[in-house]
Symmetry: C2
């Protein structure tokens, strides 16, 4: 029987039009205390009136979290099977760290892949931000160029955040799921921060393997969509704009684009780890910029 | 008598061509252990061959820390005199925090404005990164949009890092200056991190006032250039590409562009603080995107 995400994660078609929620809230705030007017005045005083951005068809651009020039088409031809065979002890530690995290995750989510995607993206967006920030600080205190890696890692973090913003539209977290996300972020942020300081080689390898698992779980998500266990709802508008999808795209198209992104992150992180394995620093190798 | 930066900060005209240093080092590494070849093989294996980017005139783009689409023309018409008069106790605390930091800084650098600019930019690039990172984590764990503020703050951090990369070319830090930067970054990063968690209102106000001081010290820098105390050397190539300056630009043109950037940061941060003063969150107001 076809059990939609609706039953499992309180998602609804209304949530799919959720891109407008933000706008409505803004108006509500404005209407409530006249602060939208104040806000405009302050923005004008500081010379920061928001620039008008429009889509190719001339309609106003409604997203503030990304702009037309941040959009791209995912490379769906990317090799999904590529795997870094763990050889060294450190590689094996990274591999088994990820594998051991897989088991409780499978148990918790079972086959609720919509929920799973949404929850895991809150974690997936942390490593890029932490790595980018640490490289930024290193670049500053050593007076040296980063070779583009700061930008590459921050772009990864932004891309993962966009995955979250997309899955939020088709799935709604319950209170205990929100609580879990708070706790997991607190632990994971600090663990990754420390891990990256101690061994960026290990940290990037762990992310490489995490992305391999992400590809696997999005493949399972696609299977559930294909066999009708998860309803193939229309793609949320935010996803259509972000990945430049055709207007009639569905959740399946979104998952395909997201999976391709994960495969790209896998490549970037295994590559970064490989550079460290050569005893070199990231800045000595060309950063993988320009994917987006 | 005209005392160039050369005497005071061990800068030299050779350092101005320093954009090539990176390239040379890369080749040296490659030649030393054949690792450039390995590196290419690994990059190819992961499908991450660096994309070829070229300038408008067709010559190859030599900077990895920023790309042609990150370049811009600074808005030199920006009001340099705008000031946020401290009214509340918190404002006054922010104002006097900054004013009290001014005194030891003046004493340390005296009129070595090249050194001063270089050293202070290592600190200036921290708040945007910390703020952007904290907003990113908040957006993730609360499942909410950032309204573009993550990007706006990270762009500020990148812009400040580019200021540093520019001043590095005309000024060379001595060992004790490097040591000082290490220590100051350690303290300032943690202080700003804590400060931003406790009161983003206060944190943004402090940065607003810091930027007002930065405008002042760049104005002093310009005076020293104009009266010949600091030699008006040709602009480093990285600055010409980043701010789209004419080929025969000088250090004076660079300082003008940097000062305009600081005025923009002042506006952004005072605006952010003002939003918090209204009891609202940053995401409820339009982020000042698109300056670049
Ligand atoms: Fe993701
Ligand atoms: Fe990913
Ligand atoms: Fe600056
Ligand atoms: Fe600044």
């Amino acid at each position: 029987p076809a059990v939609g995400l609706g039953v499992r994660c309180r998602s609804s078609m209304a949530a799919i039009a959720g891109g407008d929620k933000e706008q409505e809230k803004k108006q509500a705030v404005g209407g409530g205390g006249g602060s939208a007017k104040d806000d405009k005045e302050i923005a004008s005083y500081w010379g920061l009136d928001p620039t008008k951005v429009s889509k190719e068809d001339g309609s106003p651009w409604k997203w503030t979290c990304f702009r037309p020039w941040d959009t791209y088409q995912a490379d769906l031809s990317i090799d999904l099977k590529k795997h870094h065979a763990p050889v060294t002890v450190l590689d094996k530690m990274a591999y088994w760290t990820v594998k051991s995290l897989r088991w409780p995750t499978d148990l918790f989510f079972q086959r609720r892949y919509g929920c799973r995607a949404m929850m895991l993206e809150t974690v997936a967006a942390v490593p890029g931000m932490v790595g980018g920030m640490l490289l930024h600080c290193k670049s500053l205190r050593r007076f040296e160029h980063s070779g583009g890696w700061i930008k590459a890692l921050l772009e990864e973090a932004e891309n993962e955040r966009m995955h979250l913003m997309t899955f939020m539209e088709v799935s709604d977290p319950r209170w205990y799921e929100r609580a879990l996300v708070f706790a997991v972020q607190g632990v994971f942020f600090n663990a990754y921060f420390l891990g990256y300081i101690i061994s960026p080689k290990f940290a990037h390898r762990v992310v490489g393997y995490l992305e391999e698992e992400a590809i696997h779980s999005y493949t399972e998500f696609l299977k559930e969509l294909d066999n009708g266990n998860i309803e193939n709802v229309p793609a949320p508008p935010i996803a259509i704009d972000y990945w430049r999808l055709p207007p009639n795209s569905t959740l399946r198209d979104v998952v395909l684009a997201v999976r391709a992104d994960e495969a790209h992150h896998r490549d970037v992180n295994h590559f970064a780890s490989d550079i460290h394995y050569q005893g070199r620093q990231l800045k000595e190798a060309p950063a993988p910029l320009g994917y987006h």
